[in-house]
Each structure stands twice: as structure tokens, then as C-alpha cells.
Symmetry: C2
Subunit: 319 residues, 2 copies
């Protein structure tokens, strides 16, 4: 498939990134993606206990990934509400990871420090304004994520189809499309909209290498097109698999529950409960709305190979 | 650009459809689109007074379109809550229009009668289940519309990016992508996702031929990426331009207002107020979330030509 400028920027063969999903983006997954020619991302919480130390955990994950691949990989660091963020940034620098993806917070906070250490910085955005702001702060590229994505979404809930071309038109740095992509058709569509690459999350959850709980993988495989929903519109839209919890939250929201009532009800670490522990009834299983198209567990390399190998076939079909 | 099987089905040169927007999809617009090689759609309410007769109006619109083009055009007929729907179907048959798009109601109601009269039937869907149901009822194709589209959306709020490939995988009839498309990049992306064609609404509002109020066209041109929102989630998601009315509805919804309270507040024909009368503060201006990308009034033929002429350039950029 096409080598875009993202490939040159990151030193990768195919412009495909595996999203750094909280609790479950583990070293083995990231290394397998990188080894297959994409860019794997580690989450500092991958496999960690509920009250574990993210810094220690991240160091272990990086060590494991290094033992599995000599190719570039990265770390995903959401900044907001993370008391360990300073130490995590320092760890990424000390460990000389190739790429850091920052999210949920100002790209002005750590971009300079990371870049001075020779690390490439990508920042997650969900609107034109935030993409422009990130470019001004000097990031190397933006991951523009549509509201199809699992987990936390931007307040404006712009979809991938409308977000990508508008972000592409508003910045000159590379743009990676995320949200709703799970196969070669989505990757070609993302590049047609002007993106320089594609990031996938949910597709990589359903791989042999991912440490997501088997119940969670199975739920994605069984999901239909309408089996995810967005909760939390009052304080932070979050796309999750529909379950008892989701219906209860939606019911509270429809009845006019306050932000405090909702946050109090939801509590914390529910995403670990669903994704890592496999308690699908009580957990929040962050899940992209493309889940309905994912029908089998593959290896991470198969996911990437099926895109690379079929890219030209899709292009040919458009002539 | 590629001639898809939709071109053969409808007897058109380019697989591009202009959405049949309530109040403002007039004969001159539809004829200009058809004349340029796409398929124009007339709304039976186009230019009509608030309590006008849709049947008389539709006959006039068809007559005007016939005087402007010898090429195929169609009529858009949402079925639900339309007391004149029987007579409108009969009119489409009497007037021998080429294509009828049915929406908001069962495709089983009129498909047989229309097809017996030699009319091609496309049905608007927003989920896999509805697409499969429409295929079983014998429609010639489905327009799969993502929640990026202006106006009424499906309850599941599936985006174009995830809806299209899943619908394509679930039916064998032609699939037309709608929602979030406004330029050649969107058309190529839609076809990459497996669609046989693309429908655009908001892009065609901002044309010289469309009878939308100049205030409405100007508001679209001025819109940013985040200037539309979805209201009415409790009874029927509706994407409109953000305005005083939209904020008031969202505020009522957040406070837990009932369906009755909301419908009572919104009243009826607000979409005429905004789109045709140009009262942007009090009207509902149905508007796609791609509005931020539309920056100038063009002629309908320019819209189509810019897609057809640049199609290969986009494809070449993907190699």
C-alpha cells in the first residue's frame, strides 16, 4: 500500500497505528503491530491492578515490547486527571520510546520536552480548533478521532467522515484518521478523505495478542451495527457497548440527572471491570461503533496484512 | 469517474444523487442536477405554502423539471405522518417519474405498486436491519444515511463511516451513501467503503438553483465544523444548525423534558421557518455536519463537475 509521509515521520512501513487503549493496550500487542510494519502503542495501565503504579507498569511494558521488536513503538498518555502524568512523561523520555501520543489535555504541556528528547509527538484531537492548536504547539502530527471511536470522545461528536477532511484542510502536519476503521475499506476511505494514516482500536482488541478479557472480545464479535451507544454527554461523551449499565446511565440522563449524580453512579475504573475483568454487565466496555463488522479473532499481523495486501484491490475497484 | 451499477440502474452518467430536502428541493435544482449527469430529487413540499396541497405542488414541480431536462429525475416521499402520501404515490405513477425515494415508513407499503408502474424505487435506511428489510420488500437500492446528514436521522445514530460497509456486506442491491459528503474526497471515500453512489443534501442547498432562503445558505457558508447538533433524541434525532432554538431544546432535554413537552415546544413546520423563510433564530434549519466544509455558492453543475473532474486525481493520490 501507499507509503505516506507518516511512514517517513515514524519510520514505519505501513501508515497504520494501533490505538493505546486504557488497561488493555499491552506490550505484546504493540510489539506485534510494530513488528508487522505498523506502529503499536502501549498504555501505561495495560494489565495493571486497579491501584497499581503506572510508572512501574509502563517500564515493564516497554521492556517487554523491546524484547519482542526492534522496530519503533509508542506510548499513549492521556494527561487529564492523571496524577502520575509528570512521571510518565519522564519515563517515556528516560526509556527513549520512539513516539508519544498525548491526549485529553493541552498539547502545550509536554510537547517541547518530548521533542527535545528526540521523541515524535502525536496529539489526539476531535475538532478543527484543537488540531490547529496542536499544530501551533509543535506536535509532529494529529490523530483526528471521530465519535465512532470507543471510549472518550470530543464534546462536539464529529464523525470521522466530516472531521478528517476539515482537519486536513486546516493544518499542514500529518493527520491520522481514527474512529470507525476496521478493515482495508476504511483505511482507503480515510486516505481518500485526506488522512496520512489510520488508527484502529477495537479491531486490535479482537486479536490473539491483546489482553482484553475473552468475554469482551466475544461481545465485540457478537455485536451488531447498533450495539454501542454514547453515554456521558453532560460531562464527556463515552462510547461503550450497550449493557445494563449503559441503559441505566441513558435512563438517568433522559430523566435529567445531574453531572454529580451521574459521576457518583458510574464511579471509577468501570472500564477495567468490563474490558480487562470481563464483567460485561457492570463494566464500561469502551468499544467503537464499527464492532458490528468485526467477526473473528485474528493475530495483529493478520489485521495489518489483510489491509496491506488488499489495498490495491480496493483502489482498482474504484476505477 | 467510475460508472457504477447505480448508473445503469437509473440511467444516469455519474452516481451522484441530490437529496430531496423538504421545502427546498425544487424542480430547478433537481433538473440542474439531472442535466449535469446526476439524479435530482424533487420534494413535494418544495416552495409550497405552509398549508398548501402537496399533490398540486408536486404536479407543478414535475412539470417544471420536465421543461428543463429530458434526463431522469425523481421524487422524495417520506411516508410517515403524511396524510397525502397515497395521492402523492398515485401522482408519481401518473406523472411517470423515473425514480421514487421512499423514507420514514415501511418499504412494503408502495414498492410493488411503484415498480409495476416501471418506476425505480430507492428506500432510505439508517441500519443494517432496515436495509435487509428493504431488500426483501423488493426495492431497487437503498440510500444508507449516516447521522451526519441534516434533518431526521435513524434512532441508532450510526455514522456514514460505519454504516456503509456494514450495509454493503448485508445486501446485494446497490447502496448509496449519504451523510457527511460534500466533495470529491467524500465521494471516493463512500465508494471505497463499498457504496455504489453518493447522495448529497447540504452541498446542494448552497447552489444558485436551490430555493433555500439566502440567510440559510449564508449560515451554512459561515458554519464551522461544530455548528450543527442533534436534537430530539427522545423521539427522533434531528440534525440542525445550532441556534437559539437548538440550545433551548438541548437545555430542555438535559433537564429531563418529556416527549410531549418537547413536541409541544417545537411545534410544527419549523423547518420551513428556517430553511425557506430564513428565520434562523426561530426555525429548524436541517443541516448536515459537513456544513463547515462548504464555503461558497456554486451552480449544481459545478458541484457535480468538480467531483467528476477530480475523481481520478484523488485516486491517483492514493497510489
Amino acid at each position: 500500500m501507499k507509503k505516506t509521509r507518516l511512514c517517513n515521520l515514524l519510520g514505519i512501513e505501513s501508515p497504520i497505528i494501533q490505538g493505546g487503549m486504557v488497561w488493555i493496550a499491552n506490550a505484546e500487542l504493540a510489539a506485534a503491530v510494530s513488528e508487522a510494519g505498523g506502529l503499536g502503542l502501549i498504555s501505561p495501565t495495560a494489565g495493571m491492578s486497579r491501584n497499581g503504579d503506572q510508572v512501574d507498569n509502563l517500564k515493564g511494558q516497554i521492556k517487554t515490547a523491546r524484547s519482542l521488536t526492534a522496530k519503533p513503538f509508542g506510548v499513549n498518555l492521556p494527561m487529564l486527571h492523571n496524577p502520575q502524568i509528570e512521571d510518565l512523561i519522564a519515563t517515556a523520555i528516560d526509556e527513549r520510546v520512539d513516539v508519544v501520543v498525548t491526549a485529553a489535555g493541552s498539547p502545550g504541556l509536554y510537547t517541547d520536552r518530548l521533542k527535545e528528547a528526540g521523541i515524535k509527538v502525536l496529539h489526539l484531537v476531535a475538532s478543527v480548533r484543537h488540531a490547529q492548536s496542536a499544530e501551533r504547539r509543535g506536535v509532529d502530527g494529529v490523530i483526528a478521532e471521530g465519535c465512532e471511536a470507543g471510549g472518550h470522545n470530543g464534546l462536539d461528536e464529529l464523525s470521522t467522515f466530516v472531521l478528517i477532511p476539515q482537519v486536513v484542510d486546516s493544518v499542514s502536519i500529518p493527520v491520522i484518521a481514527a474512529g470507525g476503521i476496521a478493515d482495508v475499506r476504511g483505511v482507503v476511505a480515510a486516505l481518500a478523505l485526506g488522512a496520512d494514516g489510520a488508527q484502529m482500536g477495537t479491531r486490535f482488541v479482537v486479536t490473539h495478542e491483546c489482553i482484553a478479557h475473552p468475554n469482551f472480545k466475544e461481545a465485540i464479535i457478537k455485536a451488531n451495527d447498533n450495539d454501542t451507544t454514547i453515554t456521558g454527554r453532560k460531562f464527556g461523551p463515552t462510547r461503550i457497548l450497550k449493557n445494563e449499565l449503559a441503559y441505566k446511565i441513558l435512563e438517568m440522563e433522559a430523566a435529567g440527572a445531574s453531572v454529580e449524580e451521574l459521576i457518583d453512579f458510574i464511579g471509577s475504573s468501570r472500564s477495567r471491570t468490563g474490558q480487562f475483568e470481563g464483567d460485561l454487565a457492570n463494566g464500561e466496555s469502551y468499544c467503537g461503533s464499527i464492532a458490528g463488522m468485526i467477526k473473528e479473532i485474528k493475530s495483529a499481523s493478520e489485521v495489518i496484512r489483510s489491509i496491506v495486501d488488499n489495498y490495491d484491490t480496493v483502489l482498482d475497484s474504484l476505477r
